[in-house]
């Protein structure tokens, strides 16, 4: 019997980039197939071909042994392909349900949108993962994690034969993943072929029997995961062994940043802490506990309603990010596409944006110097492909993130605030970024890392602040940091702490 | 009976402004509280401001208050309709309208009729249903300039026309009058007839291009004075002021100044102040119940350096000069 889904010799050429080269593998009905690879390996490109967004330069896609023409997303949907895109593809002004049914609305008599019916069906689909999401709410009022859940639920509505998921959990918590895993295994039981892309290897090992590993646009191998260790898979992805890194602390006693009684108009209240030179401070907490908002206050993006921020002992007031940047603070934001990059501009321009004064000491940009610095910083963050003049929108998410980190390196920032620094970033790059963060700390930078991935916090932080309901619920020093301890403080007291950092 | 659509240039039921008093006597006494409302195209053109001055002047003379409004720009058709409708609702006894186009004030004719308010169409665009029209013959503007060329440039030559906004009545008529008359003489060639959109800069550029392509050109006719003054600058910039005659239309004060300075060759003045006076007088005679011919023709004259002074004195002096012209049958 022919496999449900088969890629046969797929190649894709973009101007100046060969994103895919002769990719072939297949996925059987009822199989959950992992697709692994570093940033830029070509995973999203392959899935975008499957979902009709791109057309392959060569090769074909076969479903149940028959070649199919995937000329556009409608055609792909028609042959039973549903896809969750890596970048959230949503219309903020429409409701959750409208977004889920966009392009194929339920109607009454073919004329009017059957709103109630859509909302009912949407609620059903959402219920499997997060029943708290209101299908009638405008999508724009949801948080990233909820928006991602909506995206997943949308794919479930289709009752497709093939479901492709491109990093569906990048903003989700482990407990949300668990519910998603149940949904996915349910799909597989019903005979759906699932292609699952994630940089979180534990997830892939958790739900996939088989996986295809890609590197630089080619298939390295399709393997049975049961017979392999994570380490071996990682080695295949990155083409080398990743050294097991251990935490090392560079914190000094010198206070760099001192926050007292900080509050925002909306969520954050009474936050006080010190950040030392060379320290990596982790901030953990549930979704919506106010971590992002706290970072935005520190970075001058939002204005504080009360409290003080002192840098090197001097009290400062930020009325815009400019002030914070001048004081040596830089934010690597959570929503890269909307808050991080200027899509049409080159890597170099994106990098230089925060430090124009440095590159143009006399009003005119010193392009020679700019290029040198860009080359230097981008090789430090290991940009791939190394095309500094190429618009950043053409890079994979992980590489966009590297450019944003490079931005702060170029600006000589002393205090770096990372909001979910490795969301959507592969194991290799992740290790690079961890390493980078440690290097920065060792050089005397101070770093704040907000992360929903507890292993990440544990790996990096010298000290962890746990946020709950907009304020700091606990402070854990290195010796006390553990997943259990963090979870215990993150969850509102009235609930019984479950094992692991469960939320909701 | 249905009125035949008005053509102000050819209507037979007409009277020259100079004959009105002779035929219909002095202005009769008006009902108490008579007030007149007037709306014209735009105040951004001196011509229409002068017309308003004429209304005001005559209104002051006979003790009738006049409200004078204009649309915000030339071509603002619905805005002008709104203004005119406002005047009807406010209960003016007579309306003087200078419509943007032949049609845009048509509803006013009906509303005014229902309210028993006479309407006088003053100059330029012609409402076909208008029962009363005061103004000059648009075509005649062009004819007069053409005649000047035929008389003063007996050897003929190449001439060019810079037109107003495409499709506007006055522009079409003036252009046609000039073109037909000068072509009939057989000695002249109209080498260009292109739009200047009532705009000085556009006319300047067009004139520059025409002069460059036809170095032997002997004259320009422009549909208004603003454009003519733009052409004058282009002619000066090309160093051809002695060879190229430039004519405008309207007789605004800048045109007079330029004529006196020897730059603009001439303009066809249609005496807007006087036109305003005559128009309001006509309107008030209607209010008083007189039956007047459908068209009251107002004067115009070709102004050149030779006669500029004769037509640019005070209101009364000009009136006298024009009455003399009328008597002399010019």
């Amino acid at each position: 019997m022919s496999p449900r889904l088969q890629f046969a010799g797929i190649s894709k050429l973009f101007p100046a980039v060969r994103a895919l080269n002769d990719v072939s593998f297949s996925v059987g009905a009822g199989e959950i197939h992992g697709l692994l690879g570093e940033n830029g390996a070509g995973k999203s490109t392959l899935l975008r071909i499957l979902s009709g967004v791109y057309r392959p330069t060569a090769g074909s896609v076969l479903i149940d042994g028959k070649p199919v023409t995937l000329a556009n997303p409608v055609a792909a949907r028609a042959v039973g392909v549903a896809m969750i895109h890596q970048e959230l593809q949503q219309v903020p002004r429409l409701s959750v349900a409208q977004n889920m049914f966009l392009g194929h609305p339920l109607t009454r008599g073919g004329i009017f949108v059957a709103r109630r019916e859509q909302e009912r069906r949407a609620a059903e689909a959402l219920a499997a993962i997060d029943p708290s999401i209101d299908p009638a709410a405008p999508l724009g009022t949801l948080k990233v994690a909820q928006r991602q859940i909506v995206e997943i639920a949308r794919a479930l509505l289709d009752r497709a034969r093939i479901v492709a998921m491109d990093e569906p959990t990048s903003s989700l918590t482990p407990s949300e993943f668990e519910r998603l895993a149940e949904v996915i295994t349910g799909l597989a039981r019903d005979g759906v072929a699932v292609v699952y892309v994630s940089h979180k290897l534990d997830e892939v090992f958790g739900i996939c029997e088989r996986a295809t590993i890609m590197r630089d646009g080619v298939v390295v191998d399709s393997v049975d995961l049961a017979s392999l260790s994570e380490k071996a898979v990682v080695a295949m992805m990155v083409g080398r062994e990743l050294a097991q890194e251990h935490h090392s602390s560079h914190a000094s006693g010198e206070v760099m940043l001192s926050v007292r009684g900080l509050a925002s108009a909306t969520k954050v209240r009474d936050v006080s802490f010190d950040l030392h030179r060379g320290e990596v401070l982790g901030i953990a907490g549930l979704v919506g506990s106010g971590r992002t908002e706290l970072l935005r206050l520190l970075a001058g993006v939002d204005r504080a309603s009360a409290g003080t921020i002192a840098i090197d002992g001097r009290a400062t007031r930020f009325s815009s990010p400019r002030d914070a940047i001048a004081a040596g603070i830089g934010l690597v934001p959570e929503e890269r596409k909307h808050e991080g990059i200027v899509p049409l501009r080159s890597i170099t321009s994106n990098m230089a944006l925060a430090s124009m004064g440095v590159f143009a000491p006399r009003g005119v940009i010193d392009h020679i110097r700019l290029k040198q610095v860009a080359a230097e910083k981008m090789s430090r963050v290991k940009l791939r492909p190394f095309l500094l003049d190429r618009p950043i929108r053409l890079f994979s998410g992980g590489n966009q993130q590297k450019a944003i980190i490079g931005r702060w390196l170029a600006a000589g920032t002393r205090i770096l605030l990372f909001d979910e620094p490795t969301r959507g970033i592969d194991v290799g790059a992740k290790a690079e970024i961890y390493h980078l963060i440690e290097e920065l700390a060792a050089e005397g930078h101070s770093v704040v890392v907000v992360s929903s991935e507890l292993p990440e916090v544990i790996r990096l932080a010298d000290r962890v602040l746990v946020m709950r309901d907009g304020t700091i619920a606990a402070e854990l020093d290195r010796s006390n940091i553990s997943e259990q301890a963090i979870a215990a403080h993150a969850i509102p007291q009235t609930q019984t702490p479950a094992a692991g950092p469960a939320r909701h | 009976a249905e009125l035949a659509p008005l053509n102000s240039d050819t209507e037979k039921d007409r009277i020259d402004w100079s004959q009105v008093e002779a035929k219909f006597g002095a202005l009769p006494k008006l009902p108490d509280g008579t007030k007149a409302g007037a709306v014209s195209k735009t105040l951004t053109n001196e011509y229409w401001r002068s017309l308003g001055e004429g209304y005001k002047a005559f209104g002051d003379k006979v003790g009738v208050p006049v409200v004078y409004q204009a649309a915000q720009s030339e071509g603002d058709q619905l805005g002008q309709l709104t203004i005119a409708e406002g005047l009807v609702t406010q209960g003016y006894n007579v309306l003087l309208v200078s419509p943007q186009t032949d049609a845009n004030l048509q509803p006013i004719m009906e509303q005014a009729k229902a309210a028993n308010v006479p309407v006088v169409n003053v100059n330029d665009a012609v409402i076909p249903q208008a029962e009363h029209y005061v103004g000059n013959v648009q075509r005649d503007n062009g004819v007069r300039v053409a005649k000047w060329f035929i008389k003063n440039r007996p050897n003929g030559g190449k001439v060019a026309i810079i037109e107003g906004q495409a499709g506007v009545y006055a522009a079409v008529q003036r252009t046609d009058g000039f073109k037909t008359t000068i072509s009939e003489s057989g000695k002249f060639e109209v080498v260009a007839s292109v739009p200047g959109n009532w705009d000085r800069q556009t006319s300047y550029d067009a004139a520059t291009n025409i002069l460059q392509q036809h170095p032997g050109l002997i004259g320009f006719y422009a549909n208004n004075d603003g454009m003519a003054l733009g052409i004058v600058e282009a002619v000066k910039a090309a160093g051809l002021q002695d060879k190229v005659a430039v004519f405008g239309t309207d007789g605004i004060s800048d045109a007079y100044a330029s004529i006196r300075a020897g730059e603009l060759t001439g303009t066809v003045d249609s005496f807007p102040v006087l036109t305003g006076e005559v128009a309001l007088e006509t309107a008030l005679r209607l209010v008083a119940g007189q039956k007047l011919p459908r068209v009251v023709a107002t004067p115009q004259a070709l102004i050149t350096k030779d006669n500029a002074d004769r037509y640019s004195g005070t209101g009364d002096a000009v009136r006298k000069a024009l009455l003399e012209d009328a008597a002399a049958g010019q």
């Binding site: 979902s51 009017f112 708290s132 | 409004q69 071509g75 603002d76 186009t101």
Partner: protein, 322 residues
Amino acid sequence: MSDTTLVQPRAEFLRGFSMRDAGTLIGLVVILAVFGALVPGFFAERNLINILQQSSINACLALGMTLVIISGGIDLSVGPTAALSAVISASMLVAGVPFPLAIAAGFAIGLACGLVNGVLVAYVGLQPFIVTLGTLSTYRALALIYTGGNPVLGLPPSFRAIFNGSLFGLPLAVIIVAGVAVVAWIVLKKTPFGEYLLAVGGNEEAAYIAGVPIARTKIAAYMISGLLAALAAQILIGRLGAAEPILGNLWELDAIAAAAIGGASLMGGKGSVVGTILGAVILGAMRNGLTLMNVQSFYQLLATGLIILAAMLIDRVTRGRG
């Protein structure tokens, strides 16, 4: 999640009438109050009807413009589209063609003009502003060439009566446009097409991936705009009794102003039928009030500019950033 408040059903009416529309309404109320205080007779029934009638043509165009703007486009060619439709309908009427046929021909012209705009935007991928700037000249030129620049006169009185009558004391034009507004509201709020418009203007890529027919949605928006321009043309020639090739000069600016005052964002993805109608009435009331106050035209122009800015400011203040 504690936001259960959001799930409670709201009345359908309130769904249609957003916070943003409330801002526009406040703007209208302020302007009406000011004129009411300054102009005696401003609130007379006759004058209020005048305001509605005088706003109706702009409102009609602005509704089409709103849909185009929501789709992320703009239609500068509405005036010339109306002119072309008007002269062709009118010359057929004068030639004795039956009304329904002549009117249908006018509508067909409007649809065709919109189709050309839409195809150039959606399939060829040109920028809406520049496409409709080009067709603005082209359609106007066609109308002028077709008529030789002359107005088409002598429309049958019975035709004029269609668009010129009254019903329950309201001008038919007002009723027709109100009907159009209701349909537009339903289309935007209740039909897949309305969703597609919002999606295409709000996030074209997401809409494409979701399978929204991008090109067809955009083309339909321009065709509706063309159709409504043709309808405005019929109303106007009914009122004027003549069709001129230069009719509709600068209509696009008023229509865009009405849509923008009503909350449409020229970045696309946002706009309100109710707001647009309020915006058109704000502009109409302003013109009417200034005329009744006998404000000299230069100062009227000044007031026009300032009131547009003021309407936007009031709205801005009442709804906060966003």
